[in-house]
């Protein structure tokens, strides 16, 4: 899966949670929870969405590494290429 495909995938999961948000203008370093007004329920759904889309296992202790779009993509890419899912 290419980086672009992964990015589109993550954005589509985010769209499912915050349908009205303007994802195009989302900066890679912004805190997703603040920028998209995501509460703990939204965040859980975000993790579930990523897991279902990529198959990557995301334990609770790793939540802190999914704060920004850049971190999330890095986290997923690392696991996808190492075949850990």
């Amino acid at each position: 899966m290419t980086d672009q495909e992964l990015r589109d995938l993550v954005l589509s999961v985010l769209a499912g949670i915050a349908p009205d948000a303007d994802l195009a203008s989302l900066a890679p370093g912004e805190d997703l929870r603040e920028r998209l007004d995501i509460d703990s329920m939204d965040h859980l759904n975000f993790v579930i969405g990523l897991h279902q889309a990529t198959g990557v296992e995301i334990p609770e202790r790793d939540y802190a590494r999914l704060v920004t779009l850049r971190d999330t993509l890095a986290y997923l890419a690392a696991r996808l290429h190492s075949g850990s899912h």
Partner: protein, 457 residues
């Protein structure tokens, strides 16, 4: 003494008319002897007695029609008849005639089991008594008409073609229409309801606009209204929701004498249990702290019933059920507090699933009417937004609302040094007409106590 009854002579015979008695009172009759002629749809049939004895009384006179099983005559035993030896049916004397053999005395008379059920009027009563159970049970084992494949989970909502067509022509955003059909599918009626009402949050019943179009089966072209209905735009919808929240909150402040309590609760044991529990659960079934908090509140509500019910026409009515209202923010359209039904009887896992489902449907406009109108106690949680404590405004006609702030760390001094313990501030706003601070405090203490043994929640 035995009864001679109208015999069932055919699978579809229900009644018959006694045409001719061949015996009178006092006659001695033998088993198998023809005692009467009866008229059925198939013509006249001879009817035999299965008892030997003396005819004591003819209960039905000639010419009367009776249902199968109706007693026709009473037959008394022959004097000293009990010990009678079995006359050799085959003794030479009777060789020429197939003499009826008398069943040995010990044989129980064949009492038709249907007799008691046979009321003379209800001829159909002779159908075997299992009939009703058979009919209903048969459906249950009918193999499922079709193995229903799991529709694709994400994205595709269940919307009937007719509803889809009407929504398209009436320019209605289906995402805002609550489905009340099977599995929450959106039906034609749902779209029509959305057409008629401002997007109220279910508080006020929509005015009964008995318009003709309810009944006529609309073909899609026929129902295109002349001008788009006023409430179609988002802004108008948001304003309407704001107005109804305002009305509710004002009424609450006006009518309900709130008293407020707060208490800090140690969540360390609960959160450790939760983290351990989540390691075992697949991602889709992971629990949030909210699930434990809801469970604790629901259980405490059972212990302190004054917090759980309604205050109407100046009297409090406690509710046996605990339908826990959960305050959910609709990203752009304000706030609603639908109920998780029977929260006290659900496990933490079930509450989590219900919560996830409720949030998903609330945000996609797919809430069931029953969930909107029946919370018996509400919980609000603004921890995610960083608030330490929130004192909620009670939703009339409820009589209390519980609030939770964010989880914070508190250094505590213990024998083996300073420990960081995670805490949360729980608050209670309650109706002073129904309960006093003392009971309120007991309620919050109960919530705290329950959260110290998470495994039991």
């Amino acid at each position: 003494m035995a009864e001679f009854r109208m015999p069932s002579l055919g699978a579809d015979m229900e009644r018959a008319t006694v045409v001719h008695w061949l015996v009178q009172v006092g006659d001695r009759i033998e088993r198998g002897q023809v005692v009467a002629e009866v008229e059925t749809e198939k013509g006249v049939l001879e009817v035999e007695s299965f008892e030997s004895g003396i005819v004591e009384e003819l209960l039905v006179c000639e010419g009367t029609t009776v249902a199968v099983g109706t007693p026709l005559a009473r037959i008394g035993a022959v004097a000293g008849g009990e010990g009678q030896p079995v006359p050799g049916a085959l003794s030479v004397a009777t060789a020429g005639r197939a003499a009826p053999a008398v069943a040995p005395a010990a044989a129980p008379a064949i009492t038709p089991t249907v007799a008691p059920a046979v009321a003379p009027a209800a001829a159909s009563a002779i159908t075997p008594t299992v009939a009703p159970a058979v009919a209903s049970a048969a459906q249950s084992i009918e193999p499922a008409a079709a193995a229903r494949p799991a529709a694709q989970t994400r994205g595709r909502r269940r919307i009937s073609p007719a509803a889809r067509a009407l929504a398209e022509s009436a320019d209605i955003d289906l995402d805002r229409v609550e489905g009340t059909g099977p599995d929450d599918a959106v039906t034609l009626a749902d779209v029509r309801r959305a057409q008629r009402q401002p997007t109220s949050i279910g508080a006020a019943e929509p005015p009964a606009l008995a318009t003709g179009e309810d009944h006529a089966a609309p073909s899609t072209s026929a129902i295109r209204p002349a001008a788009p209905s006023g409430l179609a735009t988002d802004a108008a919808r948001r304003a309407a929701m704001r107005a109804s929240i305002a009305a509710l909150m004002s009424r609450s402040k006006r009518e309900i004498p709130h008293y407020y309590l707060s208490q800090e609760i140690d969540l360390e044991r609960a959160l450790l249990w939760l983290e351990n529990e989540n390691l075992r659960r697949p991602v889709e079934e992971r629990l949030l702290p909210a699930a434990l908090l809801l469970k604790a509140v629901a259980t405490a509500a059972v212990e302190v019933p004054e917090m759980n019910g309604f205050f109407e026409n100046s009297a409090f009515r406690a509710s046996t059920a605990v339908h826990l209202g959960v305050a959910i923010s609709l990203r752009d359209a304000g706030l609603i507090a639908p109920a998780i039904l029977d929260a006290d009887r659900r496990s933490a896992g079930e509450l989590m699933a219900a919560l996830r489902d409720l949030v998903r449907r609330a945000r996609s406009g797919g809430l069931r009417a029953s969930e909107m109108s029946s919370p018996t106690l509400t919980v609000t949680n603004l921890g995610d937004q960083g608030v330490t404590a929130v004192f909620g405004v009670i939703y009339p006609p409820q009589v209390a609302i519980v609030g939770f702030g964010k989880v914070f760390a508190r250094a505590t001094v213990e024998e083996n040094g300073i420990r960081n313990r995670r805490m949360v501030t729980a608050t209670l706003s309650a109706d002073h007409r129904v309960s006093d601070g003392h009971r309120g405090a007991y309620f919050l203490a109960a919530v705290g106590r329950l959260l110290q043994r998470p495994e039991e929640l």
